[in-house]
Protein backbone atom coordinates (compact mmCIF):
# COMPACT_ATOMS: atom_id res chain seq x y z
CA UNK A 1 0.00 0.00 0.00
CA UNK A 2 2.85 2.31 0.90
CA UNK A 3 4.34 1.56 -2.53
CA UNK A 4 1.08 2.28 -4.35
CA UNK A 5 0.96 5.72 -2.73
CA UNK A 6 4.59 6.31 -3.71
CA UNK A 7 3.95 5.68 -7.39
CA UNK A 8 0.64 7.57 -7.35
CA UNK A 9 2.09 10.90 -8.45
CA UNK A 10 3.86 9.66 -11.61
CA UNK A 11 0.87 7.42 -12.41
CA UNK A 12 -1.51 10.38 -12.13
CA UNK A 13 0.78 12.45 -14.33
CA UNK A 14 0.70 9.66 -16.89
CA UNK A 15 -3.08 9.52 -16.62
CA UNK A 16 -3.22 13.26 -17.31
CA UNK A 17 -1.34 12.71 -20.58
CA UNK A 18 -3.65 9.81 -21.50
CA UNK A 19 -6.76 11.86 -20.74
CA UNK A 20 -5.51 14.85 -22.71
CA UNK A 21 -4.86 12.66 -25.73
CA UNK A 22 -8.25 11.07 -25.32
CA UNK A 23 -10.30 14.26 -24.97
CA UNK A 24 -8.57 16.21 -27.70
CA UNK A 25 -8.91 13.26 -30.09
CA UNK A 26 -12.62 12.76 -29.34
CA UNK A 27 -13.48 16.44 -29.56
CA UNK A 28 -11.77 16.77 -32.95
CA UNK A 29 -12.43 13.39 -34.55
CA UNK A 30 -16.20 13.25 -33.99
CA UNK A 31 -16.98 16.41 -35.99
CA UNK A 32 -14.34 15.53 -38.60
CA UNK A 33 -15.90 12.06 -38.90
CA UNK A 34 -19.32 13.61 -39.42
CA UNK A 35 -17.99 15.91 -42.15
CA UNK A 36 -16.29 12.97 -43.84
CA UNK A 37 -19.52 10.94 -43.68
CA UNK A 38 -21.48 13.79 -45.30
CA UNK A 39 -18.78 14.11 -47.96
CA UNK A 40 -18.88 10.36 -48.54
CA UNK A 41 -22.63 10.67 -49.14
CA UNK A 42 -22.40 13.77 -51.30
CA UNK A 43 -23.64 13.65 -54.86
CA UNK A 44 -20.26 14.76 -56.16
CA UNK A 45 -18.47 11.62 -57.33
CA UNK A 46 -14.87 12.89 -56.97
CA UNK A 47 -15.54 13.96 -53.36
CA UNK A 48 -17.03 10.51 -52.64
CA UNK A 49 -13.98 8.76 -54.06
CA UNK A 50 -11.41 10.93 -52.31
CA UNK A 51 -13.07 10.28 -48.97
CA UNK A 52 -13.41 6.59 -49.85
CA UNK A 53 -9.67 6.33 -50.48
CA UNK A 54 -8.93 8.29 -47.30
CA UNK A 55 -11.04 5.91 -45.19
CA UNK A 56 -9.45 2.90 -46.88
CA UNK A 57 -5.93 4.16 -46.14
CA UNK A 58 -6.60 5.11 -42.54
CA UNK A 59 -8.49 1.95 -41.66
CA UNK A 60 -6.21 -0.23 -43.73
CA UNK A 61 -2.89 0.54 -42.05
CA UNK A 62 -1.90 0.16 -38.41
CA UNK A 63 -2.44 3.17 -36.18
CA UNK A 64 1.10 2.62 -34.92
CA UNK A 65 2.44 3.06 -38.44
CA UNK A 66 0.39 6.23 -38.87
CA UNK A 67 1.79 7.61 -35.60
CA UNK A 68 5.34 6.91 -36.70
CA UNK A 69 4.66 8.34 -40.13
CA UNK A 70 3.28 11.63 -38.85
CA UNK A 71 6.17 12.05 -36.43
CA UNK A 72 9.12 10.79 -38.44
CA UNK A 73 8.18 10.88 -42.13
CA UNK A 74 5.81 13.86 -42.44
CA UNK A 75 8.66 16.39 -42.08
CA UNK A 76 10.15 15.06 -45.33
CA UNK A 77 6.98 15.12 -47.40
CA UNK A 78 7.32 17.85 -50.06
CA UNK A 79 5.05 20.95 -49.76
CA UNK A 80 3.00 19.81 -46.76
CA UNK A 81 6.01 18.57 -44.82
CA UNK A 82 6.04 19.85 -41.27
CA UNK A 83 7.96 18.83 -38.19
CA UNK A 84 5.53 18.46 -35.32
CA UNK A 85 6.47 18.06 -31.66
CA UNK A 86 5.45 14.69 -30.20
CA UNK A 87 2.11 15.66 -28.65
CA UNK A 88 0.60 17.44 -31.68
CA UNK A 89 1.97 14.69 -33.93
CA UNK A 90 0.20 12.04 -31.85
CA UNK A 91 -3.02 14.07 -31.75
CA UNK A 92 -2.94 14.50 -35.53
CA UNK A 93 -2.46 10.77 -36.15
CA UNK A 94 -5.21 9.79 -33.70
CA UNK A 95 -7.69 12.35 -35.02
CA UNK A 96 -7.13 11.34 -38.65
CA UNK A 97 -7.43 7.65 -37.77
CA UNK A 98 -10.50 7.85 -35.51
CA UNK A 99 -12.28 10.25 -37.85
CA UNK A 100 -12.11 7.54 -40.52
CA UNK A 101 -13.84 5.03 -38.23
CA UNK A 102 -16.41 7.57 -37.03
CA UNK A 103 -17.08 8.53 -40.66
CA UNK A 104 -18.13 4.97 -41.44
CA UNK A 105 -20.31 4.79 -38.34
CA UNK A 106 -22.03 8.08 -39.19
CA UNK A 107 -22.42 7.10 -42.84
CA UNK A 108 -24.20 3.89 -41.89
CA UNK A 109 -26.32 5.81 -39.39
CA UNK A 110 -27.35 8.46 -41.91
CA UNK A 111 -28.15 5.85 -44.54
CA UNK A 112 -30.33 3.95 -42.09
CA UNK A 113 -32.76 6.87 -41.81
CA UNK A 114 -35.89 6.28 -43.86
CA UNK A 115 -36.30 8.31 -47.06
CA UNK A 116 -39.73 9.31 -45.82
CA UNK A 117 -38.06 11.50 -43.19
CA UNK A 118 -36.36 13.55 -45.90
CA UNK A 119 -39.60 13.77 -47.87
CA UNK A 120 -41.58 14.72 -44.79
CA UNK A 121 -39.11 17.53 -44.11
CA UNK A 122 -38.98 18.60 -47.74
CA UNK A 123 -42.73 19.02 -48.16
CA UNK A 124 -42.68 21.23 -45.06
CA UNK A 125 -40.22 23.50 -46.86
CA UNK A 126 -37.00 22.58 -45.09
CA UNK A 127 -33.68 22.91 -46.89
CA UNK A 128 -31.15 20.06 -46.97
CA UNK A 129 -29.16 21.62 -44.14
CA UNK A 130 -32.25 22.18 -42.00
CA UNK A 131 -33.37 18.62 -42.67
CA UNK A 132 -30.00 17.23 -41.66
CA UNK A 133 -29.63 19.36 -38.56
CA UNK A 134 -33.16 19.16 -37.18
CA UNK A 135 -34.54 15.87 -38.48
CA UNK A 136 -31.90 13.39 -39.65
CA UNK A 137 -28.86 13.88 -37.41
CA UNK A 138 -30.79 13.86 -34.11
CA UNK A 139 -32.11 10.44 -35.09
CA UNK A 140 -28.69 9.31 -36.30
CA UNK A 141 -27.21 10.07 -32.87
CA UNK A 142 -29.57 7.60 -31.23
CA UNK A 143 -28.65 4.89 -33.71
CA UNK A 144 -24.88 5.38 -33.62
CA UNK A 145 -24.52 5.64 -29.85
CA UNK A 146 -23.59 1.95 -29.33
CA UNK A 147 -20.85 1.82 -32.01
CA UNK A 148 -19.54 5.27 -31.05
CA UNK A 149 -19.39 4.11 -27.45
CA UNK A 150 -17.34 1.11 -28.59
CA UNK A 151 -14.85 3.24 -30.51
CA UNK A 152 -14.57 5.71 -27.66
CA UNK A 153 -13.69 2.99 -25.18
CA UNK A 154 -11.17 1.56 -27.63
CA UNK A 155 -9.59 5.00 -27.94
CA UNK A 156 -8.88 5.19 -24.19
CA UNK A 157 -6.73 2.09 -24.52
CA UNK A 158 -5.28 2.94 -27.95
CA UNK A 159 -3.74 6.09 -26.51
CA UNK A 160 -1.14 3.77 -24.96
CA UNK A 161 0.41 3.52 -28.44
CA UNK A 162 1.99 6.94 -27.99
CA UNK A 163 4.77 5.24 -26.06
CA UNK A 164 6.45 4.80 -29.48
CA UNK A 165 6.98 8.57 -29.49
CA UNK A 166 8.47 8.27 -25.99
CA UNK A 167 5.56 10.15 -24.43
CA UNK A 168 4.92 9.37 -20.80
CA UNK A 169 1.30 8.33 -20.78
CA UNK A 170 -0.20 6.03 -18.17
CA UNK A 171 1.01 2.85 -19.84
CA UNK A 172 4.60 3.95 -20.44
CA UNK A 173 4.85 5.37 -16.93
CA UNK A 174 3.70 2.04 -15.50
CA UNK A 175 6.18 0.13 -17.58
CA UNK A 176 9.03 2.41 -16.53
CA UNK A 177 8.10 1.92 -12.88
CA UNK A 178 7.93 -1.85 -13.32
CA UNK A 179 11.40 -1.87 -14.80
CA UNK A 180 12.82 0.49 -12.17
CA UNK A 181 11.33 -1.19 -9.10
CA UNK A 182 11.16 -4.84 -10.19
CA UNK A 183 7.52 -4.90 -9.13
CA UNK A 184 4.44 -5.65 -11.21
CA UNK A 185 2.24 -3.55 -8.96
CA UNK A 186 2.34 -0.52 -11.33
CA UNK A 187 0.71 -2.71 -14.02
CA UNK A 188 -2.15 -3.53 -11.67
CA UNK A 189 -2.54 0.11 -10.72
CA UNK A 190 -2.53 1.07 -14.42
CA UNK A 191 -5.17 -1.58 -15.13
CA UNK A 192 -7.36 -0.14 -12.37
CA UNK A 193 -6.91 3.36 -13.78
CA UNK A 194 -7.92 2.26 -17.28
CA UNK A 195 -10.89 0.36 -15.88
CA UNK A 196 -12.08 3.42 -13.98
CA UNK A 197 -11.81 5.57 -17.12
CA UNK A 198 -13.73 3.11 -19.27
CA UNK A 199 -16.29 2.60 -16.52
CA UNK A 200 -17.01 6.32 -16.41
CA UNK A 201 -17.42 6.31 -20.20
CA UNK A 202 -19.69 3.27 -20.09
CA UNK A 203 -21.91 5.01 -17.55
CA UNK A 204 -21.93 8.18 -19.62
CA UNK A 205 -23.03 6.35 -22.75
CA UNK A 206 -25.63 4.36 -20.83
CA UNK A 207 -27.08 7.64 -19.61
CA UNK A 208 -27.18 9.01 -23.15
CA UNK A 209 -28.82 5.87 -24.47
CA UNK A 210 -31.43 6.04 -21.76
CA UNK A 211 -32.14 9.66 -22.63
CA UNK A 212 -32.66 8.75 -26.28
CA UNK A 213 -34.86 5.80 -25.30
CA UNK A 214 -37.71 8.29 -24.75
CA UNK A 215 -38.89 7.55 -28.27
CA UNK A 216 -39.03 4.46 -30.46
CA UNK A 217 -38.98 4.47 -34.20
Amino acid sequence: MQYVLEIMIPMLEGTAVTLQMFFITIVLSLPLGLLLALARLSRCRPVQSVVGVYIWLLRGTPLMLQLLFVYFALPFVPYIGVKLPDFPAAVLAFVLNYAAYFAEIFRAGIQSIDRGQYEGAKVLGMTYIQTMRRIVLPQVIKRVLPPVSNETITLVKDTSLIYVLAMNDLMRTARALVQRDFSTTPFIVAAVFYLVMTLVLTWGFQKLERRYAAYDE
Partner: protein, 252 residues
Amino acid sequence: MEMIKAENIWKSFKNLAVLKGISLTVKRGEVVAIIGPSGSGKSTLLRCLNHLEVVSKGTIAIAGETLVKTGPDGKAQYVHDAEIRRICRKMGMVFQQFNLFPHLTVMQNIMEAPIVVKGMTREEILPEAENLLKKVGLLDKAGSYPCELSGGQKQRVAIARALAMKPEIMLFDEPTSALDPELTGEVLRAMRQLAEEHMTMLVVTHEMGFAREVASRVIFLDQGEIIEEGTPQAVFGNPAQPRTRSFLSSIG
Protein backbone atom coordinates in the same frame (compact mmCIF):
# COMPACT_ATOMS: atom_id res chain seq x y z
CA MET B 1 -58.36 30.69 -59.75
CA GLU B 2 -56.36 27.70 -60.92
CA MET B 3 -54.46 26.42 -57.92
CA ILE B 4 -52.82 23.60 -59.81
CA LYS B 5 -52.29 23.63 -63.53
CA ALA B 6 -50.33 20.78 -65.03
CA GLU B 7 -49.94 20.38 -68.76
CA ASN B 8 -48.62 17.45 -70.70
CA ILE B 9 -46.63 15.91 -67.83
CA TRP B 10 -44.27 13.12 -68.82
CA LYS B 11 -42.31 11.12 -66.33
CA SER B 12 -40.10 8.10 -66.91
CA PHE B 13 -38.10 5.94 -64.54
CA LYS B 14 -35.20 4.64 -66.62
CA ASN B 15 -37.02 3.52 -69.78
CA LEU B 16 -40.39 2.99 -68.16
CA ALA B 17 -42.88 5.77 -68.90
CA VAL B 18 -45.02 6.24 -65.81
CA LEU B 19 -46.87 9.40 -66.77
CA LYS B 20 -47.73 9.90 -70.41
CA GLY B 21 -48.82 13.41 -71.09
CA ILE B 22 -51.06 14.13 -68.12
CA SER B 23 -52.90 17.44 -67.98
CA LEU B 24 -54.79 18.46 -64.91
CA THR B 25 -56.33 21.58 -63.46
CA VAL B 26 -57.54 22.08 -59.92
CA LYS B 27 -59.45 25.22 -59.03
CA ARG B 28 -59.53 26.88 -55.64
CA GLY B 29 -61.77 25.00 -53.22
CA GLU B 30 -62.08 21.93 -55.39
CA VAL B 31 -61.63 18.46 -53.94
CA VAL B 32 -60.28 16.21 -56.65
CA ALA B 33 -59.94 12.48 -56.09
CA ILE B 34 -57.51 10.49 -58.21
CA ILE B 35 -58.40 6.83 -58.48
CA GLY B 36 -56.94 4.00 -60.48
CA PRO B 37 -55.26 0.60 -60.23
CA SER B 38 -51.92 0.30 -58.46
CA GLY B 39 -49.02 1.18 -60.73
CA SER B 40 -51.20 3.56 -62.72
CA GLY B 41 -49.02 6.53 -61.76
CA LYS B 42 -51.40 8.21 -59.29
CA SER B 43 -48.83 8.68 -56.55
CA THR B 44 -46.13 9.65 -59.03
CA LEU B 45 -48.39 12.35 -60.42
CA LEU B 46 -48.97 13.75 -56.94
CA ARG B 47 -45.26 13.59 -56.14
CA CYS B 48 -44.38 15.43 -59.35
CA LEU B 49 -46.63 18.32 -58.40
CA ASN B 50 -44.57 19.17 -55.29
CA HIS B 51 -41.17 18.24 -56.65
CA LEU B 52 -40.70 14.97 -54.75
CA GLU B 53 -40.17 13.60 -58.25
CA VAL B 54 -38.90 15.59 -61.19
CA VAL B 55 -40.84 15.43 -64.42
CA SER B 56 -39.19 14.55 -67.72
CA LYS B 57 -41.12 17.28 -69.45
CA GLY B 58 -44.26 19.31 -69.08
CA THR B 59 -45.52 22.43 -67.36
CA ILE B 60 -46.65 22.80 -63.77
CA ALA B 61 -47.93 26.02 -62.28
CA ILE B 62 -49.02 26.34 -58.66
CA ALA B 63 -51.39 29.22 -57.87
CA GLY B 64 -50.27 30.91 -61.06
CA GLU B 65 -46.53 30.50 -60.46
CA THR B 66 -44.54 28.34 -62.83
CA LEU B 67 -42.63 25.52 -61.14
CA VAL B 68 -41.42 23.81 -64.28
CA LYS B 69 -41.90 24.18 -67.99
CA THR B 70 -40.65 22.41 -71.06
CA GLY B 71 -37.52 24.14 -72.26
CA PRO B 72 -36.48 24.75 -75.87
CA ASP B 73 -34.55 21.46 -75.81
CA GLY B 74 -37.77 19.58 -75.01
CA LYS B 75 -36.65 18.78 -71.47
CA ALA B 76 -38.10 19.93 -68.18
CA GLN B 77 -36.76 23.24 -67.01
CA TYR B 78 -37.26 23.96 -63.30
CA VAL B 79 -37.05 27.34 -61.63
CA HIS B 80 -34.13 27.60 -59.19
CA ASP B 81 -34.07 25.79 -55.84
CA ALA B 82 -35.20 28.61 -53.54
CA GLU B 83 -38.11 29.33 -55.90
CA ILE B 84 -39.05 25.65 -55.95
CA ARG B 85 -39.13 25.61 -52.15
CA ARG B 86 -41.17 28.81 -52.01
CA ILE B 87 -43.72 27.60 -54.56
CA CYS B 88 -44.01 24.11 -53.09
CA ARG B 89 -44.68 25.58 -49.65
CA LYS B 90 -48.11 26.48 -50.95
CA MET B 91 -48.82 22.75 -50.82
CA GLY B 92 -49.04 20.58 -47.75
CA MET B 93 -48.69 16.85 -48.13
CA VAL B 94 -49.90 13.84 -46.22
CA PHE B 95 -48.19 10.51 -46.91
CA GLN B 96 -49.37 6.94 -46.77
CA GLN B 97 -46.61 6.17 -44.23
CA PHE B 98 -47.24 9.38 -42.20
CA ASN B 99 -43.53 10.31 -42.09
CA LEU B 100 -43.86 11.89 -38.68
CA PHE B 101 -40.57 12.73 -36.99
CA PRO B 102 -40.15 9.98 -34.38
CA HIS B 103 -37.71 11.93 -32.20
CA LEU B 104 -40.14 14.80 -31.69
CA THR B 105 -43.35 14.90 -29.69
CA VAL B 106 -46.67 15.48 -31.41
CA MET B 107 -46.52 19.18 -30.52
CA GLN B 108 -42.91 19.48 -31.68
CA ASN B 109 -43.77 17.74 -34.94
CA ILE B 110 -46.34 20.44 -35.62
CA MET B 111 -44.21 23.39 -34.51
CA GLU B 112 -40.93 22.32 -36.10
CA ALA B 113 -41.45 23.61 -39.64
CA PRO B 114 -43.07 26.93 -38.71
CA ILE B 115 -40.11 27.56 -36.38
CA VAL B 116 -37.33 26.31 -38.67
CA VAL B 117 -38.71 27.35 -42.06
CA LYS B 118 -40.80 30.42 -41.27
CA GLY B 119 -38.66 31.63 -38.39
CA MET B 120 -41.64 31.88 -36.04
CA THR B 121 -41.10 31.76 -32.28
CA ARG B 122 -42.56 29.01 -30.11
CA GLU B 123 -44.94 31.54 -28.54
CA GLU B 124 -46.21 32.64 -31.94
CA ILE B 125 -46.97 29.16 -33.21
CA LEU B 126 -48.16 27.52 -29.97
CA PRO B 127 -51.79 28.77 -30.00
CA GLU B 128 -52.16 27.83 -33.67
CA ALA B 129 -50.63 24.40 -33.05
CA GLU B 130 -53.02 23.82 -30.15
CA ASN B 131 -55.95 24.83 -32.33
CA LEU B 132 -54.90 22.39 -35.03
CA LEU B 133 -54.50 19.58 -32.52
CA LYS B 134 -57.92 20.38 -31.08
CA LYS B 135 -59.34 20.30 -34.58
CA VAL B 136 -58.03 16.80 -35.24
CA GLY B 137 -59.04 15.79 -31.73
CA LEU B 138 -55.56 15.08 -30.36
CA LEU B 139 -54.81 17.95 -27.98
CA ASP B 140 -54.41 15.43 -25.15
CA LYS B 141 -51.60 13.74 -27.12
CA ALA B 142 -49.51 16.91 -27.52
CA GLY B 143 -46.70 15.55 -25.36
CA SER B 144 -46.71 12.01 -26.77
CA TYR B 145 -44.19 10.63 -29.21
CA PRO B 146 -45.46 9.26 -32.54
CA CYS B 147 -44.60 5.70 -31.43
CA GLU B 148 -47.24 6.02 -28.72
CA LEU B 149 -50.03 6.74 -31.22
CA SER B 150 -52.25 4.52 -33.35
CA GLY B 151 -52.03 4.76 -37.13
CA GLY B 152 -55.14 6.88 -37.35
CA GLN B 153 -53.85 9.24 -34.71
CA LYS B 154 -50.50 9.48 -36.49
CA GLN B 155 -52.20 10.42 -39.72
CA ARG B 156 -54.29 13.07 -38.00
CA VAL B 157 -51.10 14.55 -36.53
CA ALA B 158 -49.59 14.50 -40.01
CA ILE B 159 -52.58 16.47 -41.30
CA ALA B 160 -52.23 19.01 -38.48
CA ARG B 161 -48.49 19.25 -39.13
CA ALA B 162 -49.08 20.04 -42.80
CA LEU B 163 -51.78 22.59 -41.96
CA ALA B 164 -49.46 24.41 -39.54
CA MET B 165 -47.57 25.74 -42.57
CA LYS B 166 -50.82 27.31 -43.80
CA PRO B 167 -50.82 25.68 -47.23
CA GLU B 168 -53.30 26.76 -49.89
CA ILE B 169 -53.48 23.24 -51.29
CA MET B 170 -53.38 19.87 -49.57
CA LEU B 171 -52.08 16.77 -51.33
CA PHE B 172 -53.02 13.39 -49.88
CA ASP B 173 -51.13 10.32 -51.06
CA GLU B 174 -53.24 7.30 -50.12
CA PRO B 175 -53.70 8.65 -46.59
CA THR B 176 -55.65 5.64 -45.32
CA SER B 177 -53.93 2.78 -47.15
CA ALA B 178 -51.58 1.93 -44.29
CA LEU B 179 -54.34 1.96 -41.70
CA ASP B 180 -56.38 -0.81 -40.16
CA PRO B 181 -59.92 -0.59 -41.55
CA GLU B 182 -61.41 0.54 -38.26
CA LEU B 183 -59.01 3.50 -38.15
CA THR B 184 -59.71 4.97 -41.58
CA GLY B 185 -62.94 6.66 -40.44
CA GLU B 186 -61.24 9.15 -38.12
CA VAL B 187 -58.78 10.21 -40.84
CA LEU B 188 -61.48 10.54 -43.48
CA ARG B 189 -63.51 12.62 -41.04
CA ALA B 190 -60.63 15.05 -40.61
CA MET B 191 -60.27 15.27 -44.40
CA ARG B 192 -63.98 15.79 -44.87
CA GLN B 193 -63.90 18.63 -42.35
CA LEU B 194 -61.06 20.20 -44.29
CA ALA B 195 -63.07 19.92 -47.51
CA GLU B 196 -66.01 21.61 -45.82
CA GLU B 197 -63.71 24.52 -45.00
CA HIS B 198 -63.08 24.82 -48.75
CA MET B 199 -59.47 23.70 -48.69
CA THR B 200 -58.22 22.86 -52.18
CA MET B 201 -57.48 19.15 -52.04
CA LEU B 202 -56.00 16.59 -54.35
CA VAL B 203 -56.45 13.11 -52.97
CA VAL B 204 -55.01 9.87 -54.30
CA THR B 205 -57.22 7.25 -52.72
CA HIS B 206 -58.68 3.78 -52.75
CA GLU B 207 -61.58 4.96 -50.62
CA MET B 208 -64.33 5.05 -53.22
CA GLY B 209 -66.87 6.05 -50.58
CA PHE B 210 -64.85 9.13 -49.74
CA ALA B 211 -64.33 9.99 -53.42
CA ARG B 212 -68.02 9.59 -54.09
CA GLU B 213 -69.21 11.70 -51.18
CA VAL B 214 -66.57 14.39 -50.75
CA ALA B 215 -64.89 14.90 -54.11
CA SER B 216 -66.14 17.57 -56.46
CA ARG B 217 -64.38 15.79 -59.29
CA VAL B 218 -62.95 12.32 -59.83
CA ILE B 219 -60.07 11.46 -62.14
CA PHE B 220 -59.49 7.88 -63.24
CA LEU B 221 -55.88 7.17 -64.11
CA ASP B 222 -54.62 4.01 -65.80
CA GLN B 223 -51.18 3.23 -67.20
CA GLY B 224 -50.01 6.81 -66.89
CA GLU B 225 -52.95 8.39 -68.68
CA ILE B 226 -56.14 10.09 -67.61
CA ILE B 227 -58.85 7.80 -68.91
CA GLU B 228 -61.85 9.57 -67.57
CA GLU B 229 -62.71 12.55 -65.42
CA GLY B 230 -65.91 14.08 -64.18
CA THR B 231 -68.25 14.45 -61.25
CA PRO B 232 -68.42 11.47 -58.88
CA GLN B 233 -71.97 10.86 -60.08
CA ALA B 234 -70.80 10.60 -63.68
CA VAL B 235 -67.64 8.56 -63.08
CA PHE B 236 -69.12 6.15 -60.56
CA GLY B 237 -72.73 6.15 -61.81
CA ASN B 238 -72.23 6.11 -65.52
CA PRO B 239 -68.62 5.64 -66.57
CA ALA B 240 -68.07 6.31 -70.26
CA GLN B 241 -64.88 4.30 -70.70
CA PRO B 242 -64.71 0.50 -70.60
CA ARG B 243 -61.45 0.66 -68.56
CA THR B 244 -63.14 2.75 -65.90
CA ARG B 245 -66.05 0.31 -65.83
CA SER B 246 -63.82 -2.73 -65.46
CA PHE B 247 -61.76 -1.03 -62.71
CA LEU B 248 -64.85 -0.02 -60.78
CA SER B 249 -66.37 -3.46 -61.05
CA SER B 250 -63.07 -5.12 -60.02
CA ILE B 251 -63.06 -3.23 -56.73
CA GLY B 252 -66.74 -3.96 -56.17
